[in-house]
């Protein structure tokens, strides 16, 4: 279970990362908004290149071991 706890913790920290130190509430909000917009932009771009049929595609990716 420690992994899950850590993961929650990082998520929480990440959620609060918009407000740094003594930055004002408004500033934090607009920064958070900007981050969200930036992420949406990234995801839109990735949507346009992502392979079709994720489930099938990932299932058929099987490798022989190497080295």
């Amino acid at each position: 279970m420690p992994q899950e706890q850590e993961q929650k913790r990082t998520q929480r920290k990440s959620g609060g990362a918009g407000g740094e130190g003594d930055a004002g509430q408004t500033e934090a909000t607009s920064k958070g908004q900007k981050l969200k917009e930036e992420m949406d932009e990234i995801l839109d771009e990735i949507d346009s290149v992502l392979e079709e049929n994720a489930e099938e595609f990932v299932k058929s990716y099987v490798q022989k071991g190497g080295e």
């Binding site: 990440s14 990735i46 299932k59 058929s60 071991g65 080295e67």
Partner: protein, 494 residues
């Protein structure tokens, strides 16, 4: 005084045929490589000096060698940039030429990606319509099968192997916080309870031993393969098999730069004993700790986090570089190392421009939040895989790079140049230049030899047992004076 750290990486790329169940990865890898290499294909690899089962601890080989891939007629070529490009097991593998600085290594590691990308484009010109091959620079298929990315470092033979094991293991275990390429899920046989969570590295799940010769099962943190590809009385080639394939230039730079520096400090007995109580358990624990705060126990009883262990190394490295080994390359490594550790302490997820695992985790988080996905959604697995696609117009890392969302350390021009041009300050310069100039007269080649067929009765073997000889400085004038291989061999004799 420690010897210069000549470095190189070998990357086995994942290969698959989209929607083709009868796909043969071995033959497809061979076709991929020979399509790219064209006429270079006829130069044989010279296996004479190779002995992958020789053990650095002095043990006798314990198993028979597999037949060389060469015997099966699979592609195995040396490129004009001094790299080796060949089929290893069921994967195309690219080994960079020897480099002397972490920045050069980044350039040549990236040039390898370009070679694979270009090979793929060439291959698609000859594949039947509708068939498609995909290539990934990663280390796992997410189903328990792993393939490697190995780093190689020149170390002095006189250094006792036990010192490497003692002083390098805690470093390797803790460096995961910046070397990880990130992976969705876990593949350790002992740990199937968290299949849909995320961890720092692709490789940690596949390591079960502390020291050993194996690379394909019961993999060890420290690999003992003793195959120096250089004068065996003077050198070892430390074969580090545990790293992830990095897309991030910062991660590759740090991975190789810090490890080389730590090896120098080991040669100069500059490090305290940081032995871990249980290195294998610590490896797995650190890979699963996204906050980078979990502590692991040292043999002396202390408990330190991975970042704290890294600080122990960095503090010594700063002193070492200042007092023993100043210079711009080392200084750049130490500065970057310190900045990354500070950020890891403050907020690991702030490093999405620098580190692969953070960049990938952020994308996954983005999808989860925007599309309200569960961690088990196949789309997330696709993001994990496609992050490593070598195509610059489809690979997710490359899409981030194209829009300035990740930090670059080298330029596209430098990478393009390195696709054809060898590093100038190692023997790779001689190897690559000979391939480019006298390709038709080279019968075989390897890391430490070139065999010329100059038309006489016997083949002419030129040994290259010093990795730092055969540089541009040493041989450019000689190569200029030799219009053909026969003259070159004559000049080298006199």
């Amino acid at each position: 005084m420690a010897i210069p750290k000549v470095v190189g990486t070998e990357t086995e790329y994942g290969i698959s045929a989209v929607g083709s169940p009868d796909f043969n990865p071995v033959l497809s890898s061979s076709l991929l490589i020979s399509t790219y290499a064209g006429t270079l294909r006829r130069i044989r690899w010279d296996y004479e000096q190779e002995s992958p089962l020789r053990d650095a601890r002095g043990f006798e080989p314990v198993q028979m060698r597999e037949p060389a891939e060469e015997d099966l007629g699979l592609a195995n070529v040396i490129l004009p940039n001094g790299a080796r490009y060949y089929v290893d097991h069921a994967h195309p593998e690219y080994s960079t030429p020897e480099c002397t600085s972490p920045r050069d290594l980044v350039i040549h590691d990236k040039a390898g990606e370009r070679v694979l990308e270009r090979s793929l484009a060439e291959l698609h010109k000859i594949l039947p319509p509708g068939e498609r091959i995909a290539i990934y620079k990663n280390n796992s298929d997410g189903k328990g099968n792993s393939y490697g990315t190995h780093e190689n470092y020149l170390v002095e033979r006189a250094l006792p192997f036990g010192a490497i094991v003692r002083d390098l293991t805690p470093f390797i275990v803790s460096r995961q916080v910046f070397t990880g390429a990130g992976k969705l899920g876990t593949e350790g046989a002992w740990d199937d309870g968290h299949r849909h969570t995320f961890q720092l590295t692709q490789r940690a799940d596949f390591f079960e031993a502390e020291v050993g010769l194996e690379t394909t099962l019961k993999r060890p943190i420290i690999n003992t393969r003793d195959e120096p590809h250089a004068d065996p009385d003077k050198y070892r080639r430390l074969h580090v098999i545990i790293g992830d394939a990095n897309m991030s230039e910062v991660a590759t730079f740090l991975k190789v730069g810090t490890t080389a520096l730590v090896l120098k400090m080991i040669e100069d007995e500059y490090l305290p004993d940081l032995s871990l109580a249980n290195p294998v358990a610590a490896l797995h624990e650190i890979s699963r700790d996204l906050a980078c705060t979990a502590t692991v126990r040292l043999a002396d009883g202390r408990r330190l986090s991975a970042v704290e262990i890294q600080w122990e190394y960095l503090e010594r490295a700063k002193k070492y570089v200042e007092q023993e080994d100043p210079g711009p390359d080392n200084e750049a490594v130490v500065q970057r190392w310190e900045a990354i550790l500070m950020a890891l302490e403050e907020e690991p997820l702030s490093l999405h421009r620098e580190l692969d695992w953070v960049a990938k985790y952020r994308l996954l988080q983005g999808y989860i939040e925007r599309d309200r996905l569960d961690w088990s959604d196949p789309k997330l697995r696709l993001v994990d895989l496609q992050y490593h696609d070598v195509r610059r117009d489809k690979g997710l890392y490359h899409r981030l790079a194209a829009s300035g969302k990740v930090e670059r350390l080298v330029t596209d021009q430098e990478i393009e140049r390195a696709v054809m041009a060898p590093p100038e300050d190692t023997r790779a310069y001689f190897r690559g230049s000979c391939i480019a100039k006298y390709g038709g007269a080279i019968a075989a080649a390897s890391w430490d030899s070139m065999i010329f067929d100059t038309g006489g009765d016997a083949l002419q073997r030129i040994p290259m047992r010093e990795p730092l000889r055969g540089t541009r400085l040493h041989v450019a004038a000689l190569l200029d004076r030799a219009p053909d291989a026969g003259t070159l061999v004559e000049l080298l004799r006199t």
